[in-house]
Amino acid sequence: MTEFGFKLSQSNRIDLDETDNSVFKKVAIIVPDIKLCFNCGSCSASCTSTHFKRVSFRSAILLLNRGHNKEAISMLKSCMLCGKCILVCPRGIDTRNIIINILKAEEEMK
């Protein structure tokens, strides 16, 4: 589809035709749990770090799946790995393992 050049900034739209979610897929091979999220928000709500900074595991993996890797990673940087999100997740997602693998993937990208 043609993007008309009326805007100065890039389109805000998530374009699934252009999305590169290879990082998500890479992490999904190591921790398949990442695909199980149904976005209930329990993890973000109980997050110890969320008082201080916008930390949201749920948003992060959703953004990662949409190819917005930078934004996703910025949401995990203040994670303390305390494990509350593991306990509240109704799907039993191994959140900390996913966070560590995403951040490791970031280190590799550097």
Binding site: N39, C40, S42, C43, S44, R54, S56, V88, P90, R91
Partner: protein, 348 residues
């Protein structure tokens, strides 16, 4: 309605059928079988028949009272032998008959059994973080219905804010219940509207993951809740409940639609305890040689084409013994199961 004496197949008069469980499905199955000319024994482990409906105030759609539903069955229960405070100890199978031994050591020989043992309400204390049993303001859906029935709700101080937590013990692998309990979304919205009717100034908040308003008239209730009662809907699962110095409940969730953590102080929090397996299922399935699914509910070999059939020829299911169901669905299944029994026995 066909009265027993007018029944075409007089042989049925001599055939016994056992209905296990006196909830709405059991009562309906028993009365249908009685109408088809069978001698029906209804075994109920509680003190009186009626099951969960005894503790429920009103049903939606239609806003009829549960007690009127139960009374309707009980006033029309002549010809049905109802044994209360009774459970099943064992069963012996012979060619075309089953001999069932009850907890009072009575032997009942029947040609078929309909299992209508229903569900249990999820024990909300297992969700530690919601503080049920710890904070006075935290109650369950069943508690609220009891307050409605007894009228004690009016004795309570008017809350300024009430929250409803959907999916408590449902859709939660952590408490070993992956299934959706189907009716809690409806119940929460119904109860929110009822609260608003009692206290129009009270604010109501529903915390949901997905709103599953799937049946006819349900979406209308959702519409009404928004339009008439101004119920607030927050898409996020409550993760923790605390109490502040003033005894107010502090509820944390994520407002997932704005992607922001959310905190709210409430006076009352109603937990939508889900429908979980009846703990007796395991023992019963061993007695009657049926199978149970991973979720602990009874499993039908052909849930689509034969939802009331079990893996044993003479054992049938109805109602929420095979998974969460609404009252209307349970009644339907009870009739279907009664017909299945009739089709089996009238050909013998």
């Amino acid at each position: 309605m066909v009265s027993p004496s007018e029944n075409l197949n007089l042989n049925n008069m001599y055939k016994n059928v056992l209905v296990l469980g006196g909830g709405v499905a059991g009562l309906q199955a028993a009365s249908s079988l009685r109408d088809l000319g069978y001698r029906v024994t209804l075994v109920e482990k509680g003190e009186k028949p009626g099951g969960h409906l005894n503790n429920w105030d009103r049903l939606y759609p239609g806003n009829i009272t549960s007690s009127s539903v139960i009374d309707g069955y009980l006033s029309n229960s002549q010809g049905i032998r109802i044994l209360t405070n009774t459970t099943i100890k064992s069963a012996l199978k012979s060619d075309k008959l089953l001999t069932v031994i009850t907890s009072s050591s009575e032997e009942i020989t029947v040609s078929a059994v309909i299992i209508t043992t229903g569900f249990s309400l999820f024990d909300a204390t297992i969700k530690e973080e919601y503080g049920y049993g710890l904070y006075n303001g935290v109650i369950t859906n069943a508690d609220l219905e009891s307050l409605f029935i007894s009228g004690k709700i009016h004795n309570r101080e008017k809350p300024s804010r009430v929250g409803f937590v959907h999916c408590v013990g449902s859709r939660d692998d952590k408490v070993c219940n992956r299934h959706c309990s189907k009716i809690c979304c409806m119940t929460a919205v119904k109860q929110a509207c009822e609260i608003k009717e009692i206290w129009p100034e009270t604010e109501a908040f529903c915390f949901y993951m997905d709103l599953r308003m799937f049946g006819r008239g349900y979406e209308d209730l959702y519409y009404e809740a928004q339009n008439k009662y101004g119920v607030n809907f927050i898409r996020g699962r409550v993760s923790e409940v605390g109490e502040d110095e003033n005894g107010k409940l502090v509820v944390k969730a994520e407002d997932t639609l704005t992607s922001r953590p959310l905190k709210i102080s409430l006076d009352m929090l109603v937990l939508m305890s889900g429908m979980v397996k009846n703990p007796d299922n395991k023992a019963l399935s061993a007695i009657f040689e049926t199978s149970i699914g991973e979720d602990g509910f009874f499993a039908q070999p052909h849930p689509i084409v034969n939802p009331t059939g079990s893996s044993s020829t003479r054992i049938f299911f109805a109602g929420s013994a095979t998974g969460p169901k609404s009252v209307a669905e349970s009644v339907n299944e009870a009739k279907s199961a009664a017909l299945s029994v009739h089709m089996l026995l009238s050909n013998e």
